[in-house]
Amino acid sequence: MATVVDSPHARAPVQRSRWQKLHANTKLWRGIMAVICALVLWEIGSRWDEWVGFQLPFVGLIPPPTDVARAWGEVIFLSGYWESWYLSFKRVLGGFLAAQLVGIPLGLLMAVNRYFREIFFPPFEVLRPIPPLAWVPASLIFWPTNEMSIAFVTFLGAFFTIVINVLGGARSIDIRLLRAAQSMGASQWHLFSRIVLPGTLPSIFTGAAVGMGITWEVVLAAEMISGGGTQAGGGLGFFIWNSYMGGSLEQIVVGMISIGIAGYLSSSAIRYLGDLSMPWRRMF
């Protein structure tokens, strides 16, 4: 009995190169088309007053994409622009890493030790609903330098997220894995290091990715609120606020897009790091 039935209807699998697949992918084309249409509409909308005379309500006030592109062309060569990238990244990474270094151990400790959780979780839960930015004024007073106060608020932004995710992840590990390890003679330390820790890894990366998003929001706001006021704080937030004060609308949009790209790069870096350190989650 022939194992593989060769039948007249069987068709040879069609070998299509990656580029052909990309080309045939209608979803991609529709996406690109949509973005282009949006840009065109934006252009027409904001140039409407020049051509027709009256200004459209919202779009009219925003500079058109062509002006923004030109402004970006000029700004790219200014060292200040890249400096603000560098400063913002420094602040984000500083606050973010601090939050992970403090938050992950605290989350794990709370998950493992019942008494520690019962003491530290209530105050943690009381403080969590306070939006991180509400801490900015208090932190400006408390910390001596402007830099440290921004770092503190950035830390808070990512701290609450990572602790909640680690705590949730550590406590939802399949009990059977712990039991299997116990019956193989695992001590308390073995259970923690070999089961709880790897088991919580996915939640750590989820918490970090969300935390990174919040950190960018907080840094931007802190730079606007504090940087804008006193001496030049630098950073993309200040860059946007400064452009607003200086009245050049195009640079505002340039700043917005730049910080969007920066945010996207950092969260995809975390996702990449996650795939790297968790090969076991891939299906094939």
Binding site: R179, A180, A181, S183, M184, R194, I195, W280, F284
Partner: protein
């Protein structure tokens, strides 16, 4: 008391005595004063070393709780559980559990899962451990898959990896908690045959919990039929089919007789679990109208 385990050459049966299980008047319940749920009520079983006893019972009658008690994950409210005379105090590698829908560590490859126990305890080291692991991998037919992660293995392969992980710890008692549940019928049949060859070669005392009666008859020396919740032993049916077992034996008259006896008891118990759970009287009448009971 356990006789020294003789190192088995490939193929030669490893003679193991020890792994006698005694449960006497074991009871276990959950919940507090208002919603107290008695799961096991004065249950007593004695399992001879080197035999495979299948535990069957209506769904939700407490079979998994029995597994947890013998494995030491939970402690009984009353009664005693002894393995080779020693009371069970907590989990230990003398009683290895193979869980229902496999509990392999997702972040370890098949090989790393298997060597997890011995490496942890430091029983076997270096080349001895590697040889033993390789031998078991070959025995369960996963040699080419040794570096694959559990997510990349099929259901059948995951079960075999977990079997190897249990066997490498050379347990006195293997506890199987419905290990082939969730597999499609074909893979299940092949896994049963595979497990049987493994058992008949290693002859480790085995407590095999299942809800499939045919599977129990095919694999076991004795059938322990449990009652509805709170579970106690309703009847013990000795399976005198000769060993090594073959699939054809399942259609022999004795096998059908065992099945009918077991089905009758379990039908009665299942009905109780149906009526007490949802309390529909119409169903009982509709069912009895058919003149089956």
């Amino acid at each position: 008391m356990a006789e020294e385990h003789t190192q088995s050459k490939a193929g030669e049966t490893a003679v193991i005595s020890g792994g006698r299980i005694e449960l006497r008047d074991v009871s276990k319940g959950y919940g507090d004063e208002w919603q107290h749920e008695q799961v096991i009520e004065s249950l007593s079983i004695e399992i001879e070393p080197g035999t495979l006893s299948a535990v069957v019972g209506p769904s939700g009658c407490g079979k998994s709780t029995l597994v947890n008690l013998v494995a030491g994950f939970e402690t009984a409210d009353s009664g005693t559980i002894r393995v080779d005379g020693k009371p069970v105090t907590g989990p230990g590698h003398d009683r290895m559990v193979v869980f229902q829908e496999t509990a392999l560590m997702p972040w370890l490859t098949a090989y790393q899962n298997i060597v997890f126990g011995p490496k942890l305890r430091g029983d076997l080291k270096g080349s001895a451990l590697v040889n033993e692991a390789e031998r078991l991998l070959d025995k369960v037919g996963l040699t080419e898959f040794r570096d694959k992660y559990p997510l990349q293995l099929s259901g059948g392969m995951q079960r075999r990896a977990e079997l190897a992980r249990a066997l490498i710890n050379q347990p006195l008692l293997m506890i199987m908690d419905e290990p082939f549940r969730g597999l499609d019928a074909m893979t299940r049949e092949l896994m049963q045959e595979f497990f049987l060859r493994l058992f008949e070669e290693y002859r480790r005392t085995n407590l095999f919990v299942t809800s499939e009666i045919e599977e129990a008859i095919f694999l076991a020396d004795r059938l322990v039929v449990l009652s509805n919740r709170p579970a106690t032993v309703r009847e013990i049916i000795e399976i005198e089919l000769p060993r090594p077992r073959a699939l054809e034996m399942l259609s022999s008259p004795e096998a059908y007789d065992y099945k009918r006896r077991a089905m009758e008891i379990l039908h009665e118990e299942a009905l109780k679990s149906f009526t007490s759970a949802s309390g529909q009287t119409e169903f009982l009448e509709a069912y009895s109208k058919r003149g089956d009971l």
